[in-house]
């Protein structure tokens, strides 16, 4: 069970996908944004306002932490702020993923997913 000042679940899509983006290591803002876009097949395109607003609230809720500031050689030589997931963030992500998994299982049991797949195949 998640305690402390963690955000209420379900998480907002932006927060969930940012956590998911940070699941495989620390990233800077643009890198998080691109990762989220890839995860969602381009359906969730965050602007800088949404991205840093979410980051601010996630830092306040201790879901993520700031890592060292350094340049990204793939982009340019400007120093960038990197973020990584905290232990609490990991727990929240696990809990949210389980919640979604349960929801998907229920959807399967009720044949909602099957119907969707059939409809998309047809």
């Amino acid at each position: 069970m998640i305690e402390g000042n963690s955000p209420q679940q379900p998480l907002t899509p932006a927060v969930f996908h940012i956590l998911l983006a940070l699941a495989d290591g620390e990233k800077h803002g643009y890198s998080i944004m691109k990762d989220v876009e890839t995860q969602t097949g381009g359906k969730l395109k965050m602007g800088p306002g949404t991205l840093y607003g979410s980051i601010k609230r996630m830092l306040a809720a201790s879901l993520i932490e700031e890592a060292d500031e350094r340049p990204d050689p793939a982009l340019d030589d400007e120093r960038r702020r990197y973020y990584r997931m905290s232990d609490l963030g990991q727990k929240v992500l696990n809990a949210e993923s389980q919640r979604l998994e349960q929801a998907v299982n229920i959807a399967r049991q009720k044949r909602v997913l099957t119907a969707l797949i059939q409809r998309s195949l047809a």
Binding site: N5, G29, Y30, M33, K45, M46, G47, P48, G49, T50, L51, Y52, G53, I55, K56, A60, L75, D76, E78, R80, R81
Partner: protein, 434 residues
């Protein structure tokens, strides 16, 4: 790395638009947001050239507007000036405007008085009841007492004190068309047999707040000095009054017959002393949230003090009346406009002290001179030494109480939400927790 004038101009435009976010947010995330937007621009331009940039702008602008609004409404400083003061900085103009509003009502009514409008008396006797309503509504909804409610508290307190005077003076003969006030007067008349009982309640409340203040704030020597001056002046006024009663009625009536007059004098002075001291002490309850701005309560209290002017023209149509009216207008302007404006827009404590002391001393100077205005209206009535002493003592009492307020409210930093979620702790909070 891709570069183009379109990208460069978009970057500059976005940097300008970042000014829509709150200052603290910009300081924290502005550079990173600009970097991310530049990266987005390069990517969009690489994929679809200028069209890509246009599509990016169409996506970015609503995001920018929505999140800027969100940051403004959720920022800890969003309520600064509207509900709370900004610590160690001039109050934003939105807050200054709201602070000035109640005083301006009185100032406008004074101007109306100069033009012979009779409704200024309605403002004088009724405005405090109406001005407190929005304050109570906002307090109830937000659980935070707004900074612009301090002057209305002083005004309302003054009105309640006036009603108390009337009740002490006339008891069951007080007439009012207001059913709520009538019920209060009727209930309070149950105590009328002993006037000391309400005085005692007020004194207990005053002593409790004094004890609380001394326990929490560890007062300085200046506090005891000005409290001493205030108590001494009240004591002198009381003794002088009793001596005058005894001398005036000596030989004409026995002590049993004089006693009710002496009792009435004690009750009167006691009421005035306790209510005034209570006003200053009530201000300390507001310093936790509003710091030195609590001084606006006594400012609101003395704001409607003088009510003379043009309507008296019927009695004495000389040049004296306009002069008195202008003096009263100056008094009102000092307290309603200059004092709150100066205090609000000054950042330092020393500056705020200066603003309050200069404006209040000027205003009380006018007040003192106005105490003699009846001599100009009725020159045939001479000024007795007793009257002059009584007026001087009254002014010293006012000044000492107000300086006491300045001493008590200064150097108390208002508690505000810091940039994180943990509020700073004031000495009051620490002591209360202990």
């Amino acid at each position: 790395m891709i570069s183009s004038p379109w990208i460069e101009n978009s970057r500059k435009a976005y940097a300008l638009l970042l000014n829509l976010y709150p200052r603290e947010y910009r300081a924290e995330y502005g550079t990173a947001m600009r970097q991310v937007f530049t990266d987005q621009c390069r990517s969009a331009y690489q994929e679809k050239s200028t069209l890509g940039l246009i599509l990016l702008w169409l996506r970015t602008l609503p995001d920018l507007g929505k999140t800027a609004l969100l940051e403004h409404t959720t920022s800890p400083s969003a309520s600064w000036g509207l509900l709370e003061p900004v610590p160690n900085a001039p109050l934003p103009w939105k807050g200054v405007f709201l602070i000035l509003l109640p005083g301006l009502v009185y100032l406008v009514s004074q101007i109306a008085q100069l033009t012979g409008q009779p409704w200024y008396m309605t403002v004088y006797y009724r405005a405090a009841f109406l001005l407190i309503i929005p304050v109570l509504v906002v307090w109830g909804l937000t659980r935070r007492f707004p900074i612009w409610g301090l002057i209305p508290v002083g005004l309302l307190y003054r009105l309640c004190q006036e009603m108390g005077y009337q009740w002490l003076l006339m008891g069951e003969f007080v007439q009012t068309s207001n059913p709520i006030l009538a019920a209060i007067f009727k209930a309070s008349n149950l105590f009328q047999r002993s006037l000391f009982i309400p005085d005692l309640f007020l004194l207990i409340a005053g002593l409790f707040l004094l004890w609380r203040y001394v326990r929490i704030r560890k007062p300085t020597r200046r506090f005891w000095l000005w409290l001493g001056v205030f108590v001494l002046v009240v004591a002198i006024q009381l003794v002088e009054d009793i001596v005058w009663i005894v001398i005036s009625f000596h030989g004409m009536f026995g002590i049993d017959e004089i006693w009710p007059t002496i009792e009435s004098s004690i009750t009167w002075h006691s009421f005035e002393f306790t209510t005034f001291l209570l006003l200053i002490l009530i201000g300390t309850l507001f310093t936790r949230r509003h710091g030195f701005f609590a001084i606006l309560i006594p400012v609101g209290y003395i704001l409607p003090t003088i009510v003379v002017g043009m309507p008296w023209q019927a009695i004495n149509p000389t040049i004296t009346i306009p002069i008195i009216s202008i003096a009263v207008l100056a008094y009102r302007a000092l307290l309603a406009f200059i004092a709150p404006l100066w205090v609000s827009r000054t950042g330092s404590q020393a500056g705020k002290n200066r603003a309050v002391l200069v404006t209040i001393l000027f205003a009380l100077g006018i007040h003192a001179v106005m105490q003699f205005s009846w001599l100009w209206l009725y020159p045939d009535q001479g000024l007795t030494p007793q009257t002059a002493v009584a007026i001087a003592l009254g002014e010293i009492k006012l000044i000492s109480a107000l300086i006491l307020g300045v001493v008590m409210y200064q150097d108390v930093a208002p508690v505000v939400k810091a940039t994180g979620d943990s509020p700073e702790k004031s000495p009051e909070m620490v002591a209360e927790k202990a």
